[in-house]
Symmetry: C2
Subunit: 254 residues, 2 copies
Amino acid sequence: MSEAIASGREKGALEAEGPPLGELHAPLRDLVVDRLRADILSGRYKSGERLVEDRLAEGFKVSRNPVREAIRALAAEGLVALTPRRGATVAGFSEAETREMIEVRATLEAMNARLAARRRDPGMIATLMECLNEGQRSAGAGDPAELVRLNAHFHDLLAAAGHNRVLGDLMRQLRERTNLVFAPRSANGAAQTWEEHRAILEAVIGGDEELAALLASRHVLQAGERHLEAAAAGGEAGALASAVTLEAAKTPSA
Amino acid sequence: MSEAIASGREKGALEAEGPPLGELHAPLRDLVVDRLRADILSGRYKSGERLVEDRLAEGFKVSRNPVREAIRALAAEGLVALTPRRGATVAGFSEAETREMIEVRATLEAMNARLAARRRDPGMIATLMECLNEGQRSAGAGDPAELVRLNAHFHDLLAAAGHNRVLGDLMRQLRERTNLVFAPRSANGAAQTWEEHRAILEAVIGGDEELAALLASRHVLQAGERHLEAAAAGGEAGALASAVTLEAAKTPSA
DNA sequence: ACGATCTATCTTGTATACAAGATTGCGAGG
DNA sequence: CCTCGCAATCTTGTATACAAGATAGATCGT
């Protein structure tokens, strides 16, 4: 994905660092995607609410085309549901679907924690420590939005520490979807959440793959339980089926 | 997602079965998506080849718009790579990325096999047996395309047996991406592949979650090894890092 | 002959237009 | 009073148009 730079020249000192410059000049569609996603995740649009292309286009002062493409992109991420000739709505998930997402997420987070523990990238770990401290500080008396942001950041960093982009992308998608479901009561048990983050990070630092995987998996499953119980206030909140994923085959990494 | 039907009426016998009828009348975009995906997966377009909207539109005898949206959809699936103002190309993956995909896929297939073994859905198992027999028959002397189709079918059925849609979707995506990478030598070791399928299915039927997960994981990793070795003919094909995922925490299912 | 610049062409990104499908509300008939 | 049918309106799906960015080739200078 990045061989274009090393083409004909032999100088080398001319190469610009940083990301491919062209990607900074974002198309309208991408701006719309970001705004829409933020609006959806922040709860500005409720689950099930219709997303009419014309209205949004007018709101953003662009034509329908970028909006249309943005909606399709968000549908691919799972945040928007499309119905053939009926248009788009903000995605809503049944309790069963939510459980499915959480189970998969738990498995993937476990795998990632295992990889992170295996690599023990020092730089990443340092950054993670910073994030952890900030998070635990905010856990006591922070505003919900900031907590959500820090939580996302921690998980993104942990994903980076796992050094598997494919895995990281999948985890982010699933995290956003579950966050969408749990948005209403998002500040649920922040203190415990960050205590679990700390434990996971310690296991990663210690290189204990098994423990890191176990803790990461539990972290997701327990948070899911908390939210599902809160959601179905008087209802039945059965245990999540854990198809998780400990005591790995110890095939060594590259 | 389906409460519109149970609205005012009390009859009940009027309800039509089967999928929402409207979904059968597919928009042009979806037709284009299917054709394009098939063309890409069949190797008709090679990795890295440019996908110019105008040409495709002319080829399909539609306007650029449906084509454009189809390309974006396939990009979301990971089969097409987009570069901001440069257009779309058929996705190509580095060896590292390929390994990442395979590792994740192995983990997910293991999880799914575990779930399938836990449920032991009799209907699904019957259908899987049929597919297995057909596959083993074709393994000896079938054409490559048919083998690919049967392989996809088996994995789809196994996914259905796991009863986790989210998981199934992710697995299908990853399978298609890896198939894209391995398309050139797709008929690699068909006999062994179907032998492994048989073993997995037996473990599922026996309700042996651990074994099913182990076999499914190995199935993916070994197939990956075979293909990677074949690809880097004289090169270094290191072992895939298995972040997999056996000996699960036995949290019971719903 | 080599290299740089400029131009012609190709492609994407965005906007606008139009047709067909879906929704809603109203009015006629029972 | 309720139901059915029709029509007006709203939305999506598709096509076309145009502007700006990217690419490649030709021209000119040395």
